[in-house]
């Protein structure tokens, strides 16, 4: 084991080859060429590289740790628990002044109410609208670029579509707020100018590059032999695509959708600017909505450090973090498996 470790990583495949036994009377030279000793200052720098490589792990642990630490008073502090309980957040509560039990988000009122359902439905609504647009568009564009575009067209098309990813989300939010909202309202006659459809459409522009890039890779990873075999059996190109290529690439495309979904749930500036920010529970996509991420962004600025509201906002962050991490790990696992498959070929 110790000799293994002293051999540099890229050469270990050589070191792990079986050793040839030497005949007993072989003369082993006792002294070879003198080996040059590296300068002393190399070692500390190598340790610096190792130390810096820990920062990514440290960052994830710290992010999680600080979200938990700041949200913890919701369970540990009696004062915070007086204002908010898990039951009030997730279930309908009969508040003074209301006729029926309700789940409402009114963090700044005489009796603060931290019902999460308006935010969860709001997030789901604009996310579903965005995925309904970005999913099909991204996958279809990936099919076109991988199968029908040739040579120069392909070379230009791919970076151009990926340019969409380079648009800052605040610019997309601005565009949705100033122009898109007006166009859509003039066309469809929405009651509220800013709503889940407007933010969903703008959001889809941010998600499309994610779906497009990952599905294109997944489609490209389908072995050429599959396509050739299908064509040799007399299938038309469209049949090959629909019945052979897409089913084979399905795990990759699914992870593209999952990662896109994660991005859509966490995206902040677009929904903050273009969703109307009204915490209403309704399933009508033409109503104004308020998402989890936008709530954190708009309320954290005015919140008192250490208050119940402060803890709840970090709790929302924790929910977002856990949700996107799970999607990310699942999606990433599928992509890694696919890469390993391509490599082994």
């Amino acid at each position: 084991m110790s000799t293994q470790n002293s051999i540099p990583m890229p050469l270990q495949h050589i070191a792990s080859r079986p050793r040839r036994e030497l005949p007993e009377d072989t003369q082993v030279p006792t002294r070879g060429l003198p080996i040059r000793q590296p300068p002393k200052w190399h070692a500390p720098l190598e340790w610096l590289v190792r130390a810096m490589a820990m920062i990514a792990v440290l960052a994830i642990v710290l992010i999680f740790g600080f979200l938990v630490k700041s949200a913890l008073p919701m369970w540990t502090s009696a004062e915070v628990r007086k204002e908010v309980t898990q039951a009030q957040m997730w279930f309908a509560t009969l508040w003074p002044g209301y006729d029926t039990p309700q789940n409402v988000w009114q963090p700044v009122s005489e009796i603060p109410k931290f019902g999460l359902w308006p935010l969860v439905t709001g997030t789901l609504k604009s996310t579903i609208v965005s995925m309904a647009i970005a999913g099909p568009l991204g996958v279809a564009a990936a099919v076109f670029v991988a199968f029908y575009a040739r040579g120069r067209t392909q070379e230009i098309l791919k970076p151009t579509l990926e340019l969409l990813a380079g648009i800052p989300s605040v610019v997309l939010g601005f565009f949705a707020l100033i122009s898109l909202a007006t166009w859509l309202q003039d066309t469809f006659g929405f009651d509220s100018r800013l709503n889940a459809i407007v933010s969903g459409v703008a959001l889809s522009l941010a998600i499309v590059p994610v779906v497009f890039t990952i599905s294109e890779e997944a489609i490209r990873a389908v072995p050429a032999t599959y396509v050739e075999a299908s064509t040799a059996l007399g299938a038309a190109k469209w049949q090959t695509i629909l019945k052979v290529v897409l089913p084979t690439a399905a795990p990759g495309i699914a992870s593209a959708i999952a990662l896109g979904f994660g991005r859509a749930v966490g995206e902040t500036m677009i929904v903050l600017m273009a969703s109307g920010n009204a915490a209403i529970t309704s399933w009508n996509p033409a109503d104004s909505v308020r998402t989890l991420s936008a709530t954190v962004a708009s309320e954290l600025g005015e919140v008192v450090f250490g208050s119940a509201h402060y803890a709840v906002l970090f709790y929302l962050g924790l929910l977002l973090f856990v949700f996107t991490s799970v999607l990310n790990l699942l999606g990433g696992r599928v992509i890694d498996a696919q890469k390993a498959k391509v490599k082994s070929r």
Partner: protein
């Protein structure tokens, strides 16, 4: 039902045509959206965009003058972020590709962390920046160095840059590792066979060759960092400041933050719209130029 050869080929032709139309229209729709957005910005931005707009400070409650402090603030923030995140990112990639054993538990943990970090929502970085850098580290520094007087324990340039550096770390790591992967293993083997130490192999042989890839990663990180607003909402950006930032603990103005506040909180929408469009044009110009540069560098690497 049996198909005669003729009808089969008809069906193939029709099906293929439908497939091309469906997928091509998706591409065209996306290009149209991109063109509409850029066109909308270009048409509205030119009336306000001028040299004075780029070089002057705002006047009359933002309604006159320029956005120079926001440009400068964005540049300072991004430079500081790059100086923090690129060395760490490059070191992590080198560690993952040249030092660590691919199947070791710790290596897998680092990879998982990088992957995970890339997917964390930007607003969560904002929460983290406020909770960790501003309140924990900054507040701690104040207690230790300034007897609790507020110096570091409030939003400022350094904290915003550190938050953004955490956010852009995966970009640099992925790009650098990609570049290292493209260097043929034979070069490493030849160098090791000549009794070169690992340090020399990495820093004399591999890093110089990976430089264009590292550069691409750096450029993409800068572009990403310049456009992100959510992480700096609570860690250092300010809507209006009478002076330019003087030190690492000053607050700063920022193009993206400027767009956000002005678009959502301006009292006079008609007067602020042209200023907004011009600011958006500057921000888009910045990020697009950077992205284009990354595309060109990457194309050069592939061609070489």
């Amino acid at each position: 039902m049996t198909l005669t050869p003729k009808s089969r080929s008809m069906r193939a032709k029709f099906g293929d045509a439908a497939m091309v139309v469906a997928t091509l229209s998706a591409v065209l729709l996306l290009l149209l959206a991109l063109a509409l957005l850029l066109g909308d910005v270009a048409v509205h931005a030119h009336e306000k965009l001028s040299w004075t707009f780029l070089s002057k400070s705002p006047e009359d409650g933002m309604m006159a003058g320029g956005i120079f402090p926001a440009i400068l603030g964005t540049a300072m923030l991004v430079l500081l972020m790059t100086a923090i995140s690129v060395p760490i990112g490059v070191a992590t990639a080198i560690y993952l590709h040249e030092y660590a054993r691919a199947d070791a538990l710790w290596t897998r943990a680092v990879r998982m962390a990088v992957q995970n970090l890339a997917g964390v929502p930007s607003i969560v970085f904002g929460l983290f920046g406020l909770g960790f850098f501003v309140q924990f580290v900054g507040g701690g520094l104040d207690k230790a160095l300034h007897d609790g007087k507020l110096v570091w324990g409030q939003p400022g340039l350094l904290w915003a840059a550190l938050t953004l550096a955490t956010l852009t770390l995966p970009t640099t790591i992925v790009a650098t590792e990609e570049a290292l992967r493209q260097i043929p293993a034979a070069q490493r083997e030849a160098a090791y066979a000549l009794a070169t130490s690992r340090f020399e192999v990495v820093f004399r042989l591999l890093v110089p060759q990976a430089m264009p890839g590292i550069l691409t990663g750096g450029i993409l990180a800068v572009s990403r960092g310049a456009g992100e607003v959510a992480p700096i909402l609570f860690t250092g950006a300010a809507y209006f400041l009478p002076e330019l930032p003087k030190s690492l603990d000053s607050q700063f103005m920022h193009l993206g933050y400027h767009v956000y506040v002005m678009a959502t909180q301006s009292a006079d929408v008609d007067a602020s719209t042209p200023i907004l469009y011009a600011t958006v044009a500057v921000l888009l110009g910045l990020t697009f130029t950077l992205n284009l540069a990354a595309v060109v560098v990457r194309a050069r690497i592939r061609a070489a």
